[in-house]
C-alpha cells in the first residue's frame, strides 16, 4: 500500500519535473549563439525578410512570452512546427520514436541477457582465464569509438562476408509492410510477412549489437563487482560455512543483493540508450531520436530540440521510477 502511494506520488511529481525540463531546455537552447531566422532565410536575406520570419515563427516576442506560448501549446498537445522540415514536430517524433525504441529495446535485451551471466561467471571464477577474457572484452565496450567499431563491423559483415545489410531500417528499394505501429518488426508480424520480419531483423543486428555492447560492458562489470562484494559478506560466508551448496549461495543470496547496484546501472543504461544512441544511429543510418536531436541542435530548430528532450526526460524519469520500485521489492529495507 505504502509502495503504491509512493508510486502515485512519483507519477504526480512528473508534472513539475516536466515543467522544469521545458524551462531549462528552453533557456539552454536559446543560449546557443545563432539566429534560427538566419538559418531559415539564408545568407542573403535582408532585415525585412528576417523580421517576417521571426514574426511567423513567433521569434520576435520576448523570451518569457515565447516560453508561455510554447507551454500553452504543449498543454493543448501541440508540439509546434519544425523550422527545418516545416512539418509538425509530432510527425517527426512519431516517425523517429518507434525506431529508437526498437533499437534501444533490442540493445537492452541483448546487453542485459549477456551481461548478467557473464558478470556472474567472472565473479565466481575470479582471476581465471574466463574472467580475464570477460573483463578485457567488456573494456572494449566502453573504450572503442562507436563509429570505428561500427564501420569495422560493416566492412566485415557487409563488404567482406555479405551477410548483413549496410544500414538503415529496411531496404529502400522495397516497400516495407504497412505502418500500423511504427515498429517495423511488429508491423511485419501483423502483416504476416516473415520475409519482411527477417529483413528488418537483419538490419537491426549490427546497430543493436554496437549499442548494446557498451551497455553490456558497464552492466557486466557492475554485476561482477557487486557479486564479488556480496560474496565476501559475512552472511554469505555463513551460508557457505553452513554447507549450503555454492549454486544456491550464488543464485539465491548473492545475486539478489548484487542486483541492486546493477539495477541502477541498468536503469541509467536504458535511458542513455534512448537519448545517447546518436553515434550508433548515424553510423548505421538509423532514423531515430538521437539523429533528430543532433540535426535540430545544429540547425537551431528549437521546437524539435524541446520535444526530443521532453520525451527522453519523460522516458528517463519513468524508467528510474520502475528501477526505484524494483529496489523496494529486492530490498525490503528500502522504504
Amino acid at each position: 500500500m505504502k509502495r503504491l502511494r509512493y508510486f502515485a506520488w512519483r507519477l504526480l511529481a512528473l508534472i513539475p519535473i516536466l515543467a522544469g525540463v521545458t524551462l531549462v531546455t528552453f533557456l539552454i537552447s536559446h543560449a546557443i549563439k545563432g539566429d534560427p531566422a538566419r538559418v531559415l532565410a539564408g545568407d542573403m536575406a535582408d532585415e525585412a525578410t528576417l523580421a517576417s520570419i521571426r514574426r511567423q515563427f513567433n521569434l520576435d516576442k520576448p523570451l518569457p512570452i515565447q516560453y508561455l506560448t510554447y507551454v500553452s501549446n504543449l498543454a493543448h498537445g501541440n508540439l509546434g512546427m519544425s523550422y527545418q522540415s516545416r512539418r509538425p514536430v509530432a510527425e517527426s517524433i512519431r516517425a523517429a520514436l518507434p525506431a529508437t525504441i526498437e533499437l534501444a529495446l533490442t540493445a537492452t535485451l541483448f546487453g542485459t541477457a549477456v551481461a548478467i551471466p557473464l558478470g556472474i561467471v567472472a565473479a565466481v571464477k575470479r582471476n581465471s582465464t574466463v574472467d580475464h577474457i570477460i573483463r578485457v572484452g567488456s573494456v572494449g565496450g566502453v573504450s572503442l569509438p562507436v563509429f570505428w567499431f561500427g564501420l569495422v563491423l560493416l566492412v566485415l559483415f557487409y563488404r567482406q562476408l555479405g551477410w548483413l545489410p549496410a544500414g538503415g531500417r529496411y531496404d529502400p528499394r522495397l516497400v516495407p509492410p504497412a505502418d500500423h505501429t511504427g515498429f517495423l518488426l511488429l508491423d511485419s508480424l501483423l502483416a504476416g510477412d516473415p520475409g519482411a520480419f527477417w529483413l528488418g531483423l537483419k538490419h537491426l543486428v549490427l546497430p543493436a549489437f554496437v549499442l548494446g555492447y557498451g551497455y553490456m560492458a558497464l552492466v557486466a562489470r557492475m554485476v561482477r563487482s557487486s557479486m564479488l562484494e556480496v560474496l565476501s559478506q559475512d552472511y554469505i560466508r555463513t551460508a557457505r560455512s553452513k554447507g549450503l551448496r555454492d549454486g544456491r549461495v550464488v543464485y539465491g543470496h548473492a545475486l539478489r543483493n548484487a542486483m541492486i547496484p546493477t539495477l541502477t546501472v541498468v536503469g541509467m543504461g536504458v535511458a542513455n540508450l534512448l537519448g545517447g544512441a546518436v553515434l550508433t544511429e548515424s553510423v548505421f543510418g538509423w532514423p531515430g531520436l538521437g539523429k533528430l536531436s543532433v540535426d535540430a541542435t545544429l540547425s537551431l530548430d528549437y521546437p524539435v530540440i524541446m520535444a526530443v528532450t521532453l520525451i527522453i526526460t519523460t522516458a528517463y524519469v519513468l524508467v528510474n521510477l520502475v528501477v526505484d520500485v524494483l529496489y523496494g521489492i529486492l530490498n525490503p529495507q528500502v522504504r
Binding site: 549563439k33 539566429d35 539564408g42 580475464h132 551477410w163 531500417r169 543510418g285
Partner: protein
C-alpha cells in the same frame, strides 16, 4: 596461471586489432561479387535492368518547396519534378537555354524581361503550364519571403499579357536576371487548394511536389529514403529510369561502402578526401568537371591588424596555393586567381594573381609595422569542405612569416552568427553557386552587403562598388566582363579575402550507369537520360 592468462588475453586482443586493421585495408577486389550473397537486391550482372536507379544522398532534405528551400539536397530531389523558365545548356557552364521558355528578351534599359512560353507543357493533372502559373510561383515566393526570395527583391511587378507571355518588371536594370531563374521550379497554382493559414501552400509543398517535370514523389521516409517515380501518362518524353531511390546516409563512409559494393549506382556527398581514392576503384567512374564551389578565407577588414592592406597582401603572398591544390585536392580544382571565377561568363586569365613569395610577404609585413608578426584567430566549422586541412596549411604557411594563427573550430550556426555580426578576425568560407561573375564579384565585394549577405570581409572600396554596380546594369556581355575585370584588378590589390581554390564537381558512380550529362548548376542531376 594468472600471468599466463594475462598474456593470452593481450595477444588475443592484439590479434583482434590486427585482423580488423587488415580487414579495413583489404582491397575491394577481394570481396564477394555484388548480389552474390547477403541482402543485396542488386540484379546480377547481365540481367535485364529493372528500371530502378539508386542514388545515395548525404543528408535528409528539408522543405521541398522551390520557393522556400535553400537546401542542396532538396534541390537534387525536386529538380526533375519541376520545369524552369530557363536552364543552363548541357555541356556548357553558363549558357542559358529555354526550358519552359521558347525565347526571352530584355528591354534596352534592362528593366523588363519578357519570356514567351512553349505550348504543350502540362502539370501532372493536365493543366497547361501558362503565364499565370509562372506569375503565381514568383508572386507567392515573394509573399512567403523566405530563402530564395531575397535574390528577387528587384521584381516590381509580373505582367501576363497573354497565356504564353510573361514579363518581369524590375526596379533597376539587372543584366543577369535570367540566371536566377534556373533555381525556381514553376508550381501548379492548384496548390492553393492545400493552403493553410495563408502559407500559399508552402506547408504542403514542403513534403510534396506539384510540377510539370517527368518525375513525381512516390515516398519519403524522413532520414531513411526518398523515392521518385516516373509520372504516368506524362505529356513529354518518358524518362528511362522508372523509379529513382535516394537512400539517405549520415555516415559518409557507409555511403561509399555501398557504392563500392554496387548497392548504389551514384553516391552524392562523398567527402573530398575519400573521393580521391574513388578515382582508381574498379567498377567506379568519377565524373570530374569544372565546378562553381569556392573555398576562400574571410579576413575582417575592420579588425586590426587585418585592416591594413599590406598585412592582407602579406597573408595572400604567404599562402601556399600549390600545396593546397596538389596535396589536398590532388589537382581536382583550380587556384582561385581572383574573384572572377574560372569558366564563368566572359572569363579571361588575370594578369596579376598571388603566388607564394615569402620574401615579399615578410617585406610587406615589415612595411605595415609588424616585422615580428602578430596573432589572429581563424574560425572554421565542419560543414565547410576541407576547411580543417586548409586551415592547418595556412597556419603553417603564416608561421613562416611570423604570423601566429589560432585555429578555432566552432558550430556552424555560431560561425555564421559571428560572421554576420563582424565578431571575428578570420574565417574559412565556402560558396557554391552558378557560373555568373555576379555572385563572386558583386555579392562578395559590394559594401552594401556587409556580413553574411555576401561581403563577409566587411570590405569597402567606393571605386569598386561603382564598377560592380555599373557591371551588373550593363546589358552588353563583353563590356560587362571588362568592367568586372577592372574591378577585379582593384580588388586584388586590396586583398580583402584570401582566394584559395575552385573545387571540381566530382560525382562517383558505377561504370554501368549510362547517359550522365553534367549539369553545372550545383546539386542538379539530370535524371531522365540516366539508365543502366
Amino acid at each position: 596461471m594468472s600471468r599466463f592468462a594475462k598474456w593470452g588475453v593481450w595477444s588475443l586482443s592484439a590479434v583482434l586489432f590486427a585482423s580488423v586493421l587488415s580487414a579495413c585495408a583489404q582491397p575491394k577486389g577481394s570481396s564477394t561479387a555484388p548480389g552474390a550473397s547477403g541482402p543485396s537486391t542488386q540484379p546480377t550482372p547481365g540481367a535485364a535492368w529493372d528500371g530502378t536507379l539508386t542514388i545515395g544522398l548525404p543528408a535528409n532534405p528539408t522543405s521541398l518547396d522551390p520557393r522556400v528551400t535553400l537546401d542542396g539536397i532538396a534541390k537534387t530531389i525536386y529538380y526533375n519534378a519541376y520545369e524552369y523558365l530557363v536552364v543552363v545548356k548541357p555541356g556548357t557552364s553558363a549558357d542559358l537555354v529555354g526550358d519552359l521558355a521558347d525565347s526571352f528578351s530584355a528591354s534596352a534599359d534592362g528593366k523588363q524581361w519578357t519570356f514567351k512560353l512553349k505550348s504543350g507543357h502540362k502539370f501532372w493533372d493536365g493543366t497547361p503550364v501558362d503565364s499565370g502559373a509562372v506569375k503565381f510561383t514568383f508572386d507567392s515566393m515573394l509573399k512567403i519571403n523566405q530563402g530564395p526570395a531575397s535574390d528577387f527583391r528587384t521584381i516590381k511587378e509580373i505582367q501576363t499579357p497573354d497565356a504564353q507571355t510573361v514579363t518581369f518588371v524590375l526596379t533597376e536594370p539587372f543584366s543577369i536576371f535570367p540566371n536566377l531563374l534556373t533555381d525556381i521550379g514553376i508550381i501548379n497554382p492548384k496548390v492553393m487548394e492545400k493552403e493553410k493559414g495563408g502559407d500559399y501552400g508552402s506547408g504542403y509543398l514542403a513534403q510534396n511536389l506539384m510540377g510539370s517535370g517527368p518525375y513525381r514523389l512516390a515516398d519519403w521516409k524522413p532520414n531513411q529514403s526518398v523515392v521518385l517515380e516516373a509520372v504516368p501518362d506524362y505529356w513529354g518524353t518518358q524518362p528511362k529510369a522508372k523509379k529513382v531511390v535516394f537512400p539517405i546516409f549520415t555516415e559518409l563512409s557507409n555511403l561509399r561502402l555501398q557504392l563500392e559494393k554496387g548497392d548504389l549506382d551514384i553516391a552524392w556527398g562523398i567527402p573530398t578526401d575519400q573521393m580521391m581514392s574513388m578515382f582508381n576503384k574498379p567498377g567506379i567512374k568519377v565524373q570530374d568537371n569544372v565546378g562553381f564551389d569556392f573555398i576562400y578565407v574571410y579576413l575582417n577588414n575592420l579588425k586590426k591588424p587585418l585592416d591594413s592592406v599590406k598585412v592582407r597582401q602579406a597573408l595572400s603572398y604567404a599562402t601556399d596555393y600549390d600545396s593546397i591544390l596538389n596535396d589536398l585536392l590532388q589537382g581536382h580544382g583550380k587556384q582561385l586567381k581572383g574573384p572572377y571565377a574560372f569558366a564563368a561568363e566572359g572569363y579571361k586569365e588575370p594578369t596579376f594573381y598571388y603566388k607564394r613569395d615569402l620574401a615579399k610577404a615578410k617585406q610587406l609585413l615589415a612595411d605595415a609595422g609588424y616585422p615580428n608578426g602578430f596573432t589572429f584567430t581563424l574560425l572554421y566549422a565542419s560543414p565547410t569542405v576541407g576547411a580543417a586541412q586548409a586551415a592547418q596549411v595556412l597556419q603553417a604557411n603564416f608561421a613562416e612569416i611570423g604570423v601566429k594563427v589560432q585555429l578555432q573550430e566552432i558550430a556552424e550556426a555560431t560561425r555564421r552568427d559571428r560572421v554576420d555580426k563582424g565578431d571575428f578576425e578570420a574565417s574559412m568560407g565556402q560558396w557554391v553557386k552558378t557560373a555568373q561573375p555576379y555572385w563572386t564579384m558583386n555579392v562578395w565585394h559590394d559594401s552594401s552587403r556587409f556580413g553574411l549577405a555576401g561581403d563577409r570581409s566587411f570590405y569597402k572600396n567606393p571605386q569598386v562598388d561603382d564598377l560592380l554596380r555599373k557591371a551588373v546594369a550593363e546589358m552588353d556581355a563583353t563590356k560587362r566582363a571588362d568592367t568586372y575585370r577592372q574591378a577585379q584588378d582593384l580588388i586584388m590589390q586590396d586583398a580583402p579575402y584570401i582566394y584559395l581554390y575552385q573545387r571540381n564537381s566530382m560525382l562517383p558512380m558505377r561504370d554501368s550507369v549510362k547517359g550522365y550529362l553534367y549539369n553545372p548548376v550545383p546539386y542538379r542531376i539530370n535524371l531522365p537520360d540516366l539508365s543502366k
